[in-house]
């Protein structure tokens, strides 16, 4: 699998005369489906259920794009990718968008594509066994720590321990499942990754209550969808799908109230829902693109609560991901 991907990278980079550039929108429309890179199974973010249907926060974002572009939130093909091998398929055009709890960093922005905004403000934390009686990450001097290879977590971990002059042993695994198994077997004292993921993985442990997530957040992890360089139209569509969901929440438009909102007199709502103006057309879509997103998938708040928030078994509080009007930092530019 690993080798297959690397080989395909080499072949694609070396041989393909038509590296995928612009025209992602056209390709998606012609194909009739969106191909979306997601995780290999992270409850709350992207996880197949027992019937093979994908659900989660990152998955819903793909569905929102499909609703906007194809008028059908179900027309998405999901490609599960490991943390290590997630970027190459996007680069060579095997997927249209990577919606896979990926941290926005400078080098990734330069090397792999454009980040279309921050859908989830996350940070890295630690999970330990309660039996260790550790209350702070600063008490982890000399600990063995499990993490997943090919992630920014590896680097943050190294920085944090170096900055605090503590010793540690890192064991880096190829996939999240292997990492969690090793943590559960007792190979490591702590498991580190983004806090949202810690909550999700905690649910998978046999005795979830024997484990605790430490209060320290050691890094900024802005997670967002990634698109290829060189296709500005597609970049705009993905970016504004996120903004549309935020604006909808801000204006109080949800999947239940959207039909009502179409009759609203408020100019902002009229513009967002395409009653006034041609903003959808400017993006290369049509007028009621936001109506479709909200009706078929929901606004930002609905998607958050349903998948990771209070309405889910993860029960993560909105925190930084509240709207700017409610003390968070989720903020969308206006539709004008």
């Amino acid at each position: 699998m690993k080798r297959a991907i690397f080989l395909s990278v080499l072949i694609a980079v070396g041989c393909s005369a038509t590296a995928p550039k612009a025209q992602t929108l056209k390709a998606v429309k012609d194909r009739g489906s969106l191909i979306c890179g997601v995780s290999q199974g992270l409850p709350g973010f992207s996880n197949p259920d027992d019937k093979g249907k994908w659900t989660g926060f990152d998955v819903d974002f793909c569905r929102a794009i499909a609703a906007a572009v194809l008028n059908d939130a179900t027309k998405v093909k999901f490609t599960p990718l490991s943390a290590k091998d997630r970027f190459e398929p996007l680069k060579i055009g095997e997927i249209d968008v990577l919606s896979r709890n990926t941290t926005w960093t400078l080098s990734r922005d330069v090397a792999y594509g454009n980040f279309a905004g921050v859908t989830y403000y996350d940070g890295q934390g630690f999970m330990v066994r309660k039996a260790l009686k550790v209350n702070s990450a600063l008490e982890l001097n000399g600990a063995s720590i499990c993490t997943q290879t090919g992630t920014t977590t590896e680097l943050n971990l190294a920085d944090y321990f170096r900055a605090n002059n503590m010793k540690y042993e890192v064991i880096a695994f190829g996939t999240a499942d292997e990492t969690v198994k090793a943590y559960e077997s007792g190979r490591c004292d702590a498991f580190t990754t983004d806090v949202s993921q810690l909550y999700a993985e905690k649910l998978k442990l046999t005795n979830a209550n024997d484990h605790v997530i430490l209060p320290e957040i050691i890094s900024k992890e802005p997670l967002g969808p990634l698109v290829r360089h060189g296709d500005d139209q597609w970049f705009d569509i993905v970016k504004w799908t996120h903004f549309a969901m935020l604006n909808a929440e801000e204006l109080g438009i949800s999947s239940k109230t959207v039909d009502e909102a179409l009759k609203s007199n408020q100019p902002e709502i009229k513009r967002l829902l395409g009653v006034e103006g041609n903003f959808g057309e400017q993006l290369g879509l049509d007028r009621d693109w936001v109506v479709r997103i909200v009706k078929q998938v929901g606004n930002y708040g609905e998607v958050f609560d349903r998948n990771v928030g209070v309405g889910s078994n993860l029960g993560i509080s909105r925190g930084l991901n509240r709207l700017w009007t409610k003390g968070g930092i989720q903020y969308a530019p206006p539709v004008r």
């Binding site: 005369a17 792999y112 063995s144």
Partner: protein, 395 residues
Amino acid sequence: MSSPGAAPAPPVPLRNDPRARALFYQIVLLALILWLGFEFARNARANLATQGIGSGFGFLANTAGFGVNQSLIPYNESDSYGRIFLVGLLNTLLVSCLGIVLATVLGFFIGIARLSPNRPLARLAGGYVELMRNLPLLFHILFWYLAVLGTLPSPRQSISLLGEIFLNNRGLILPAPIAGEGAGPAVDTLIAGCLASIGLKIWAKRRQNRIGEQFPVLWCSLVLILGVPFLVLAATGFPVAFEQPQLRGFNFVGGIRLIPELLALLTALSLYTAAFIAEIVRAGVLAVPRGQAEAAFALGLRRKLALRLVIVPQALRVIVPPLTNQYLNLTKNSSLAIAIGYPDLFAVFAGTTLNQTGQAIEIIAITMGVYLSLSLLTSAVMNWYNAWIGRAERR
């Protein structure tokens, strides 16, 4: 219909001349290959340029910034990607070399055991081979890592041997010898003892060829390698201390620790490859004509001596070439290390480093180059060894 005496046959048209045709096709093929190579390079350059990826090997000097759990050379997070490449390479070499030695020894014993006249032993060896080689290697690795080493107790409940050696789910912890002041002469005599033993072996062999008498090489070598350095140590008042591992905080501090990732990978690779080597050894021994064994027994050699002096030397000719394949397989299979977090070349370089730098072409090229060189080097050594035993036989 040509008849004898007629004018010489008209010259063959160029397109029907086999030599011209062969030349033509070879030129076309060569041009095609050159064109493909050129196109590949041109495309790669153009595509990299459009994606804004710089090329070149400058990234090797950049700071890596991540830690590893096993390094044979001093390494910390502020070292470069070039350094991490060396760390990974040495880890790959470590597990491959140890694996090759263990798999060969074990494989030889099992292969011979399978041919033993002792029925239960032969069956046992046969069962081992079938069980090991019919399960996927990844399964072996995960089995040893999660099902065996993973169930060991935590550091606080370590299994202790003699109060000095500890075994827990963080690995096998041994006391570390620390050479104190004045340990130099002992080390020197140890090295001298090893060299002298090799010389002694060659001398004894020549002497036996000349006058037919055996020389107790084994005992003399033991004295040279173990006895003399021990005496020197005793004479200098044992200037070697042992650093005892201490349980402090989460784990033992001090001593030498063999991480479970290494132990699991090494065990799995050795046991798995040993099954294949056993079959190769069995085939090699069976390939020696029955008459050779019968002749050896007729001369009064016991089974052990007949094997060592008559059968194995001849079997080696058949054994060595496929054995080389197994060595190459073992080295390449060591890249499965990433499944259990052993920091081999593939995991730290073609994995983490590639992911962090995005220099796919360079890193994959280097990694391919390394595995290719390792394989070619192994082949070269084994071919040389094969030629050497062939020559020794003719003499």
